[in-house]
Amino acid sequence: MVRFKKRYFVVEFEQAQYVNQSKEHFDLEPLNSKDIDIANAVKDKVQELHGDFGRASISVGFKVIYANTTTRLVIIRTRHGPHRLVASALPFVTKIRAEGVVGQLLYTGATIKHCQLFMVRRQTRQLEMAKKWLANKKMDQEKLKEKIMDIRQIDPC
């Protein structure tokens, strides 16, 4: 049997209120939503853009998990083929459970391994930025590192 190919999207959701601000900031506040809320938001947007056909195409093999809640990093798994529908709908996801967000596609990978490598490199950079921005505030460095470098794995099957 030929293998079922998949595509993994690494997406970061930023809160709209911070995007609109003109001040420089580093946001460590998680979104007020769960994995299932993000999945529903993406599926609804695919239905809006591509109709029932789009929604049905992506439903098999579709999974969304929070890789890191602190930096709002999400992994979206789809089958190869319908992944184009999801990728084209991601820029239009502006609300997750009535909370304004702006999504940014960071990486598209065919294997979890390379997504994991990318996420580790990115979170290391985010940790350095967090230490620089939050130097004034008294934060436990170990806890900060634990929060940012904790990357949850997605089920490959």
Partner: protein, 318 residues
């Protein structure tokens, strides 16, 4: 040689939302990964005073005596930390978009020195006869834009019209912010994009933002993925954010420079040392064209080798 500085976003309007400023928009775009940005100033042909209107001073309205000056933006390395960490600096271009209804706008454009200071020139056309008459004239521009509201009842695209624009190095702009703002505009822009695909195979397409607020800006990867909706292939989508923007930049520089002139000289003892020593250069010396007129007028009279068959370098010289 103009270096490629992709990704490109060649439409960040100066008239943005009242809650934000162009500097905030540029910072956001640079944070998302763009390296070249064009600040867009929009004017309409109707805003320019004719002689009658200039005499009638009692007329109130949003009229312009001349084109607005190109905007300037000063950035420090703190405004673009992502690029600064890679040792790069952003390229900020200025763009002028003129919405026209007929060729009369050229009267105001040709006599304005300010309009020619812009790096990019975009035209927003409302009808097919207007575009056809513009193509027949000697006017050159870089980007062909459209507003979503003018898609129905606007330009009636044919393959011939499309490729006439392509031959003149005109690039077709597709804006993605109207897709995010409003569902009606979304349908209009997508249908227009599919028209471009039908008549022109989506050649010379660039994706731009036309974002009025930072929330409407998207990263280059997300914009390239919109190709699926707009009727482009995956490669065309990536090129629309990257290489095609470079093409627009080069075409604009070429348009501003004008027809390129080449100086041809006979190799003699006095200039033999200026010949570059590259392999095969000696074989090419016999093929050098000595019949064309030099670019400096009067020089041919001194050398006595004026060729009457070649076109003069400046008009009226013949």
């Amino acid at each position: 040689m103009i270096p490629i500085t992709s990704p490109y976003d060649l439409n960040i309007p100066m008239t943005c939302s009242p809650h934000t400023t162009p500097l905030v928009m540029v910072r956001r775009a640079l944070a998302l990964g763009y390296q070249t940005i064009a600040l867009n100033t929009e004017v309409s042909q109707n805003q320019f005073l004719t002689r009658k209107q200039a005499k009638d001073k009692a007329k109130n309205g949003d009229f312009l005596a001349d084109f607005p000056a190109p905007p300037t933006l000063s950035l420090t390395s703190e405004d673009y930390p992502l690029l600064a960490s890679r040792g790069l600096t952003p390229t900020i271009l200025t763009r002028l978009t003129i919405s026209i209804t007929n060729n009369d706008f050229m009267i105001h454009y040709n006599k304005s020195s300010i309009a020619k200071q812009y790096d990019l020139l975009a035209i927003n056309v409302s009808s097919s006869p207007c575009l056809s008459s513009l193509l027949k004239s000697s006017f050159r521009w870089d980007i062909l834009s459209f507003t979503p509201s003018s898609v129905i009842g606007g330009v009636r695209w044919t393959r011939k019209l499309y490729y006439e624009c392509v031959e003149k190095n005109v690039y077709f702009e597709l804006q993605y912010s109207p897709l995010i703002r409003d569902s009606l505009d979304r349908r209009r822009v997508i249908s227009h994009a599919h028209t471009y695909h039908s008549v022109g195979k989506s050649r010379n397409i660039i994706f731009t933002s036309e974002a009025r607020s930072p929330l409407e800006l998207r990263s280059p990867a997300d914009v390239a993925n919109l190709a699926w909706i707009m009727g482009l292939t995956e490669n065309q989508g990536k090129e629309a954010v990257g290489v095609k923007g470079w093409g627009v930049h080069k075409a604009a520089i070429g348009r501003r420079m004008g027809p390129f002139q080449v100086r041809v000289e006979k190799i003699g003892d006095e200039n033999f040392d200026k010949v570059p020593s590259t392999p095969g250069e000696s074989e090419e010396e016999g093929d050098r064209d000595e019949d064309c007129e030099p670019s400096t007028p009067g020089e041919s009279e001194e050398e006595g080798d004026r060729d009457e068959d070649c076109e003069p370098s400046t008009p009226g010289e013949s």
